[in-house]
Amino acid sequence: MKKFYQLIFAACLCLGLAHADGQPEHRITAEQAKTLVMTSLSPQQRALPKVEAEQYPPPKNSRFLFFTVSWEGTTNGSVVVGNYAVDPYTGDVWSATSSCEEETNKGLRALQTKVRATLHLSRSQYHQLKTKGPLCD
């Protein structure tokens, strides 16, 4: 499953580069962000039937891209797996419900390394761009 998401992500990156008039993109696309969100899930969450991420409109003046992850759900239960915010300039993934909780795991870090390289972000540039999450003090 992880390889599947990595392949999708790589395809998204290629499309993004082709769209950029020869210049590297400085923002990731919504599809790339969605793939980052899906990769941030735990193995148990990714194994849920019909799990998917959908973008929803951000709060006013927010720099982040917001997603709800849902699954098949149960008759009297919730379809929501979680809500997440992605920084389009860095690829950082944050919880949209808990304060200052940055999502991380091995697969996500690997994808984030790739996307930051594609954006030609040096380590220092990344740290310059990195901000607090949407629910930080």
């Binding site: 849920l48 008759t75 239960g77």
Partner: protein, 188 residues
């Protein structure tokens, strides 16, 4: 704006200020401890509580068993990212299936999600939530938020995430939705 909010909340035991720190007018009946440290009140959480706190209080009373408005608000905040997500279709509790205002089908897998319309979709979706989970609560359970969220977790909420109850009440550098709600309601 503040007048509208105060008017809307006059029947409840709480009040959140539009400007400045949040405040909570505790009544002796409240099982929550206002002296516990919950940190500062975040603006979007404050806005969410201003908009839905009165309804959350009603829903908590309907659930009974000591359920608090903070637990209801935290549940809805977590389900919607504090008013985003499926709140855009009037569904504040992640409710599966066909709703009174129709059905939203997710884009990729066509999962049915209940839609609600009208002036108070928090309350109308909350009524379905009460019907779904109320039967699983037991007396006094609401006085133990970890226990409350454990019951939700066992009955269709945050399926696949056994860490959900602890995450909801987490406090410290990362604060869970219940702690964020309490921060505003306790005057943080």
């Amino acid at each position: 704006m503040e007048g509208v909010i105060d008017s809307a909340l006059s029947a409840t035991n709480w009040r959140v200020r539009e400007n400045g720190p949040c405040a909570y007018d505790w009544l002796s009946a409240s099982p929550e401890d206002p002296n516990r440290g919950y940190g500062s009140c975040l603006s979007n959480v404050r806005d969410f509580i201003n908009a839905h706190g009165a309804d959350a209080s009603t829903i908590a009373n309907q659930l009974g068993n000591g359920t608090t408005s903070a637990e209801v608000l935290a549940t809805a905040g977590n389900e919607t990212g504090w008013g985003g997500g499926f709140a855009n279709i009037g569904n504040y509790f992640g409710l599966h299936g066909n709703g009174p205002a129709g059905t939203y089908y997710t884009s990729s897998n066509h999962t049915p999600v209940q839609m609600f319309s009208g002036t108070d979709t928090f309350m109308s979706s909350g009524q379905v939530f009460v019907g779904n989970v109320g039967r699983y609560l037991s007396p006094g359970m609401g006085q133990n938020p970890l226990g409350f969220f454990s019951i939700l977790n066992a009955h269709g909420y945050a399926t696949g995430n056994s860490g959900y109850p602890a995450a909801m009440v987490q406090n410290g550098r990362t604060r869970g939705p219940y702690t964020l709600a309490m921060a505003c309601m306790a005057g943080g």
